[in-house]
Point group: C3
Amino acid sequence: MEKNLKEIARLLNGSVSTADAEVKVKNLGNISNAVEGDLIFAVDGHIEEAARSKASAVLIPLEVKEFPLPSIRVNDPRAAFARLLETFAKPKLNIKVGISDRAYVGKGVELGRDVTIMPFAVVDDFARIGDGAIIYPHVYIGQHTTIGANTIIYSSVTVREYCEIGARCVIHSSAVIGADGFGFTTKDGVHTKVPQVGNVVVEDDVEIGAHVGIDRAAMGSTVIGHGTKIDNLVHIGHNCRIGANCLIVAQTGISGSTTVGDNVTFGGQVGTVGHITIGGNSVYAARSGIHKNMPEGFFGAGFPVQPHTEWLRMTASLKKVPELIKADRQSKET
Amino acid sequence: MEKNLKEIARLLNGSVSTADAEVKVKNLGNISNAVEGDLIFAVDGHIEEAARSKASAVLIPLEVKEFPLPSIRVNDPRAAFARLLETFAKPKLNIKVGISDRAYVGKGVELGRDVTIMPFAVVDDFARIGDGAIIYPHVYIGQHTTIGANTIIYSSVTVREYCEIGARCVIHSSAVIGADGFGFTTKDGVHTKVPQVGNVVVEDDVEIGAHVGIDRAAMGSTVIGHGTKIDNLVHIGHNCRIGANCLIVAQTGISGSTTVGDNVTFGGQVGTVGHITIGGNSVYAARSGIHKNMPEGFFGAGFPVQPHTEWLRMTASLKKVPELIKADRQSKET
Amino acid sequence: MEKNLKEIARLLNGSVSTADAEVKVKNLGNISNAVEGDLIFAVDGHIEEAARSKASAVLIPLEVKEFPLPSIRVNDPRAAFARLLETFAKPKLNIKVGISDRAYVGKGVELGRDVTIMPFAVVDDFARIGDGAIIYPHVYIGQHTTIGANTIIYSSVTVREYCEIGARCVIHSSAVIGADGFGFTTKDGVHTKVPQVGNVVVEDDVEIGAHVGIDRAAMGSTVIGHGTKIDNLVHIGHNCRIGANCLIVAQTGISGSTTVGDNVTFGGQVGTVGHITIGGNSVYAARSGIHKNMPEGFFGAGFPVQPHTEWLRMTASLKKVPELIKADRQSKET
């Protein structure tokens, strides 16, 4: 990049001292292994580590008073740094806007302006693709499915028939949206499929990780609320309703017909039973196993789930059980 | 749909009172949010809820005597409802029977009657596809692999070489059947691949979820018994033999060379070690961790697995350990 | 195959008695269900079982003195058997070396000698494919990505832009290398994507299972060390650095920015938090949950992780807690 701090401060709406204004940086770097020429960022708790680094300059919070290295003060160093990554560091890609003559576009398909459809993608009959959407190779968009404007769908994603994907979504490779939910009736030990006639609705600004499966509803819709971000290998069963602005970390599984409020974070490998309601503004630590309805504003952990502080106390105590049992046995013997 | 109850009762082989025969319904609905015009179903334990709903009519079990709303009595309301979903509610799809000129069909391939192969699917050399099978875009069928009659294989599924898939199976998008098992010999810390020369045999009427991986055997076959239904993101290691009519819920992992009897249900996120035998007619609750041979007819939970009732009792008791330890410490101090 | 033991001993650099030299075998078999005509192998602990089998001959370790069946003594029976599998038992595949006229190869792509690119694979602009590499249908190789010599990439794999894959790697179907890491900044409950501008580097001789996701680094590289083998459905977060010759069993999740030493084995369904260091030459049992930095040479289990022997002792003791609590209650009542 090779910029001086004055230029960068202007871009970020940040402030730089006159003494630092002409300091030059070449690369965006990382607090733990910064080298000369790097610009890094530091948030609270990491200010001293940044001060000891070899970086040439640091983005720091407005409220930091003294700082030994050249610096730019900004409102939110992490967000400012993300902006720089977008502007300077993103590897260049050559996206050919338009419909590849090796793609397959079915009958009755509606394509917005500036749509990109890459080789061997399939957009099946009566699908609608919004303005500026980018569809990578080997994507399958089912019949009557809608993709919102400026959504990016990476290679080998499937969105089955009659689903709706919002605007500005990002769907990573090999995600599957709208496969049949897991529904059977059982008689004399034989399982018969219940037709899954609903769909999946993914609202705007949702990101969906690689190998995520979101099943179509038995009837009605499985819904992912706007702004929710889903990590890799997550399972969301049929008829779930996930709120807005949730974070769902990798390998979590949400069983069918579960309703999740807004702003809920699930750590990795969380599991829930089906047919429950999980209140909004909550955090569940990794591996939580949620087996019942949960209130708003909960911080949970463990399986069966309990308040996080109780879980910490319990797991610490469990390590002492062997000696407790030994003592108990000895006291009986005496 | 717009049908009266007499017509529907005839279709379902159910009974309707003369008073209700002309009642009209428009949609299939759900007990929890039914509106006027909906036909819903109710099974035992939900009869009163259905009676209080706003549905226009309800499918109820034969043995219900009094019921305040228009109703049809049937042997199995859930199964009857599934039949109606299939008949009236399934979204229409335009499946073009035949081989797309954009598909790739290798040499020596045998195709049954009324086979559908969609654009960009690959059916490699010497594969055989049964009558009425439907193969979606981006499916790869390996060399010498057999697909049974009327099996549906959704987009981006892989079935590697020399595997056998039965009739009337459903394989959801991005499932991978027949990837190499995880087998290595280790010498001086270096791992050398053991060739995985076996295959996978999937019997008739099996359903396989999105992102399921079933590995080919080292030698011989990995087998999935007929009628077994597998949810999303399940792992089945090489040389496993899964019985008939099992239900394997999402994110479960069965390690290699494990034998599972018939009619076993694994809840979500279950794990097993390899080289064990798990008896039939059993249920393992979500998150069970099965580390040893298990008998027939077991209801298990927990990790290490134990009888479900003991697990419930144990997990309830563990929450009391912190106070037990505190009391113990105090008693020693006094 | 139909070979006599003399021929096989020569191939394996093993020794056979004169009496056994002309004994003929037809198939490679398995200790647990061997039939006449089978050649099987036996390692320590299984010698007697092999001696009682119906196999026609057995590969046994050099140090076994007496053995009742025809046998070949070799240094490492398991590895010798793997060699035979490779030579005699591997099902024949017809790989057409060269670039299918139905593949898509972008501009500026460099192809080595004897490369195979199958129908509907996409090798995007400026990618480089090493000598002898085999690329199956529906693979997507992103722009500026490098694939090493003799690497095999099975169907529907994605390797996104600017990644580097080493030589002699095997990548199984539907693996996704280089999807965006899960990185967001949050303000007022709204999550904004942090551009993931790094890449993934997979060193030589790595095997990657079906549905594995390895995310690209936020900056810099996510690295998989040489010789590491990864089973199905494993998640590796952005900026992880996995050492050489590790074994990572199915459904394990390694959170972002975690560093793992060489020769580490993770059993199935292990999870780790992010930003930790896990020392080399270690084994973590299935389901371990690793929440903190770990030393070299550790044998861990449980969640939170602890030494394996302590975990065994603890889990055994926990089953006794219900009766302990009952006794405690009774003692208080009296």
